[in-house]
């Protein structure tokens, strides 16, 4: 699997989609909000630049995790998996290589947004907080990697990409990554707080205030991860 993993890593870091959509776009969006427009909600108490930094880093990482599925769907559609099926690489080795390379691939999107926050938007945090943000956000997007695999083994080709972009935006808006959940109506806010993107973000937001993740965040994220992983495993077995 090592040889194939190396190839996947090279592809991930070279991919223009990853570079533009998952790293460039969150950084640009972040700078637009903090340095160009003044969109901090009225009566907002916290450091809006730091808050948005966590939101956008989570948003970018979430995309990186979710789009594992886009690649799987594409490679299923064009017959690459039929080629792999006749090599010694077992199907679970393929999925593992995809997940590991995606896990590595989300790091640049996280680091890029954090760097933009520190260097361009004047976010100041203790060193320990910076160090904690990267793994917290990274762990927070695990459910999306599982969801991506489920998508990848359900839809083929471009259909998967379109469906995932829709889910990506819907979940990130619902999770308060675009606008804080405090701006939402009550009913929507309740829904938001049980959504995976919100809980992924909340671990980072709490870290800004020096607080550890809440038990409920971990529970909700673990629940979604298990659910999506079960879904992914089911779809994967069906597709073989």
């Amino acid at each position: 699997m090592g040889a194939y993993l190396r190839l996947e890593l090279v592809r991930g870091f070279r991919s223009p989609v990853n570079l533009v959509m998952l790293t460039g776009f969150p950084v640009v969006l972040y700078l637009l909000w903090t340095n160009v427009l003044d969109v901090a909600p009225r009566g907002w108490q916290g450091d809006a630049a730091a808050y948005a930094m966590v939101s956008m880093a989570t948003y970018g990482a979430m995309g990186g995790a979710l789009f594992v599925g886009g690649a799987i769907a594409l490679e299923r559609g064009n017959g690459w998996l039929r080629q792999l099926a006749v090599t010694p690489l077992p199907a679970h080795g393929y999925v593992t290589a995809k997940l590991v390379s995606a896990a590595a691939g989300v790091l640049p999107s996280i680091v890029a947004v954090l760097a933009a926050g520190a260097l361009l938007s004047g976010v100041r945090l203790p060193a320990g907080t910076w160090a904690a943000l990267v793994p917290l956000i990274w762990v927070g997007v695990l459910p999306f990697a599982a969801l991506g695999v489920a998508f990848g083994y359900t839809l083929k080709g471009q259909a998967a990409t379109v469906a995932m972009i829709a889910v990506y935006f819907a979940l990130s808006v619902l999770g308060g990554l675009w606008l804080p959940v405090e701006t939402m109506p009550d009913a929507m806010r309740t829904l938001a707080e049980y959504s995976p993107a919100y809980q992924a973000g909340s671990m980072g937001w709490r870290a800004l205030a020096g607080q550890p993740p809440e038990g409920v965040s971990l529970a909700v994220l673990a629940g979604w991860t298990l659910l999506f992983a079960a879904l992914g495993l089911w779809r994967y077995r069906r597709a073989l």
């Binding site: 040889a3 194939y4 017959g79 039929r82 080629q83």
Partner: protein
Amino acid sequence: MNAWEFKGVTKRYGPVTALGGVDLDVGEGETVALLGPNGAGKSTLLSIGLGLVAPGSGTATVRGRPPLEALRAGGVGVLPQDSGLLEDVRVGELVTAVAGMYPRPLPPERAMRAAGVEELAGRRVGALSGGQRQRVRFALCLAGDPTLLVLDEPTVGLDVEGRRALWQEVRARTAAGRTAVFATHYLTEAEEYADRVVLLAAGEVVADGPVATVKALVGGAEVRCTLDGADPSGLEALPGVRQVSVEGRAVTLRTNDSDATLRALFAAYEGVRDVRLEGTDLESAFVTLTGGRG
């Protein structure tokens, strides 16, 4: 121990019988051509033999092991018919990655040279032509230095030079004691490169033997000519002729002995013209051989 073995393999897809009980032993070092019309079950048989499709009943083994186990152990190199490639990588990267999956691979450069894609190593797969992609797939098939080569219509999309290079490599490998099984539509490829031919029609083996034996069974050639007022019974009486069809002035003779037929044809019919000799087209030969079952 046989390199590849099928025992009573059947497969049904709903009401359609894809394979109706196939027994086949491929010995170590043999080169076997699997022939048959579209839908004869060639690809299904190969897929079952590789453990990619479960047989309805019966068993397939590679050197006595379950096929999937042999595949995962890296002993089999396969050129599938309908597989795709990664588009966003270079040819060299792809071959290197696939070679890295095998326990005892060829050096990637060696696999690329053998498949004639050495000079494409730096090119993106997405920018290759159909024939070039087929050669890359052949390179992937060789990458693990397998003892059993399984090629499903390997020369589709290849130009003359590409075909020649592919068969030369297959031949070099079988000469070194390795085994090759290929499915093809081209009788000439079977004739030139296989020791043994297996004919599959409607999911059953209808002939199995050395090329010469099966060739005699499939039979001969077609003589086509233009002849005014041709009488079928007279033409049928020509030496070697097995079958006559006359459509207006266009005459087609199926013959076992084209030399004798031609000599007699020219002698008996002064007005004969536009005479052409064509090798047996496999599809039509099958119809003859299998009584239309193909």
